[in-house]
Amino acid sequence: MIPINNFLVLSSILFSLGIYGVLARRNAVLILMSVELMLQAVSINFIAFAVYLSPQAFTGLIFAVFVITIAAAEVGLALAIILRLYRNKSTANVDEADMMKW
């Protein structure tokens, strides 16, 4: 039997890698990919808790469904924003998108 900790550790590794990506990367598309990784980690956690801890309520599974839905919406919207950024600044580099910084 697989202990629940295996899944939890895997998910925290994924989440940390996602954090690293979001912080270290400068390209907006890459940041988006890192956010996807973090969402995956969250999904794993939700499902693991649902099947191990509360088999009667299994709210985690439902939540994972919503996470995937929101992730799809997020990818579409974020890509549109990146496209917009690219049109205005001709770059996908978030460090250069600083027009609201002053």
Partner: protein, 378 residues
């Protein structure tokens, strides 16, 4: 329903236009034509035609040849309409030398040239079907009939491609005995095949959707670009050298000049299809009235010396106006020998017709010009 696209704006997405080399080794360029497309996604924003990969000196070499040797070069200039090009050259020489070919030879030339026009248009339909993505079906349909025509030509000339049959002053030898019957037979089967091709191509919904309204050409543009042949007639101008400036014995036959309305790719197909029927009509009339008699003008010398002078002779080849310009200085060789290739002039309009269309449309616009690369590069 129409999807609007608009001219690119400064604030638009700055995608990088990429250059795509189509040809000289490409399935859709009908030989070794090369075009450098600048594409923005799928849209062609610029087109740079590159020709010359097939240049063999087909205009210069004949200047070192005897007048009768030149005929073979004309076979090779437009290798799909050999009789039409030979016809042009021998008429030019006859005009310059003042030779009057016998009646029967004129009939033989007209019959063979018109059947050759059918064969050439069949080849066009085959290749066009492949360009538009028909996976060879139109090719097989067209080639079935083209084969029967080539069999007929082989019986007459002993060759399947480089006929070398017309001569200044007549034709090389007489037709085989049962030619009239064989020819009728071939015409019947070919016209049946053309009907099938009509059904396969012209009423096909995808062909309609692709070709109708694609890259229309106005008559003014067509004249300015120097288009000729079906390309010109598709725009609505009924200009046919057989009618406008009758050569040989074309003034004796009844035939119509098919024209299009909008000058788009579909009209070009329609014009070519109808021209095949008209050619068959001319051949039938000629077969009816073909006289017996000699096939070579009397009193020609072994070495043909043409008096000094110049001549420009043009004929209606399947691709348009095929012209030969000859300057003679009285020797047995042409001093200057220049060819006006219809494909070359038609091809020069490619950029104007193609820019602003999709990549796949540019391919079929190129296909609709019906180029023969040997005639373009010469």
């Amino acid at each position: 329903m129409v999807i609007e696209t608009r001219p690119p704006h400064e604030s638009d997405l700055e995608t990088i236009d990429i250059n795509v080399n189509v040809g000289p080794q490409h399935p859709a360029t009908h030989g070794v034509f090369r075009m450098v497309l600048t594409v923005d996604g799928e849209l062609v924003v610029d087109l740079d035609p590159v020709i010359g990969y097939m240049h063999r000196g087909n205009e210069k070499l004949p200047e070192n040849c005897d007048y009768r040797q030149v005929i073979g070069y004309h076979d090779r200039t437009d290798y799909l309409a050999q009789f039409n090009t030979e016809h042009c050259y021998v008429e030019a020489v006859e005009k310059l030398a003042g030779i009057k070919p016998p009646e029967r030879a004129e009939y033989i030339r007209v019959i063979l040239a018109e059947i050759n026009r059918i064969a050439s248009h069949l080849m066009f339909f085959g290749a066009f079907g492949t360009d538009i993505g028909l996976f060879g079906t139109s090719f097989m349909y067209a080639f079935r009939d083209r084969e029967t025509i080539q069999d007929l030509f082989e019986e007459v000339t002993g060759e399947r491609m480089m006929y070398n049959y017309f001569r200044p002053g007549g034709v090389a030898w007489d037709l085989p005995d049962n030619f009239r019957q064989r020819c009728m037979q071939v015409l019947d089967s070919v016209e049946r095949g053309v009907e099938q091709l009509d059904g396969l191509m012209m009423e096909n919904e995808v062909v309609l959707a692709r070709c109708r309204g694609l890259s229309p050409v106005t008559p003014e543009d067509a004249i300015n670009w120097g288009l000729s042949g079906p390309m010109l007639r598709a725009t609505g101008l009924a200009h046919d050298i057989r009618r406008a400036e009758p050569y040989s014995i074309y003034d004796r036959f009844q035939f119509d000049i098919p024209t299009g309305k909008r000058g788009d790719v579909y009209d070009k197909l329609v014009v070519r299809l109808e021209e095949m029927h008209q050619s068959a009509r001319i051949v039938r009339q000629a077969l009816e009235t073909m006289p017996e008699g000699p096939i070579m003008a009397e009193g020609l010398k072994r070495v043909l010396r043409v008096p000094a002078g110049e001549v420009y002779m043009r004929v209606e080849s399947p691709r348009g106006e095929y012209g030969v310009y000859l300057v003679s200085q009285g020797s047995d060789k042409p001093w200057r020998h220049k060819v006006r290739g219809a494909s070359f002039s038609n091809l020069s309009a490619l950029r104007a017709m193609a820019v602003g269309n999709f990549v796949s449309d540019v391919i079929i616009i190129l296909g609709s010009i019906d180029i023969v690369l040997c005639e373009v590069d010469r």
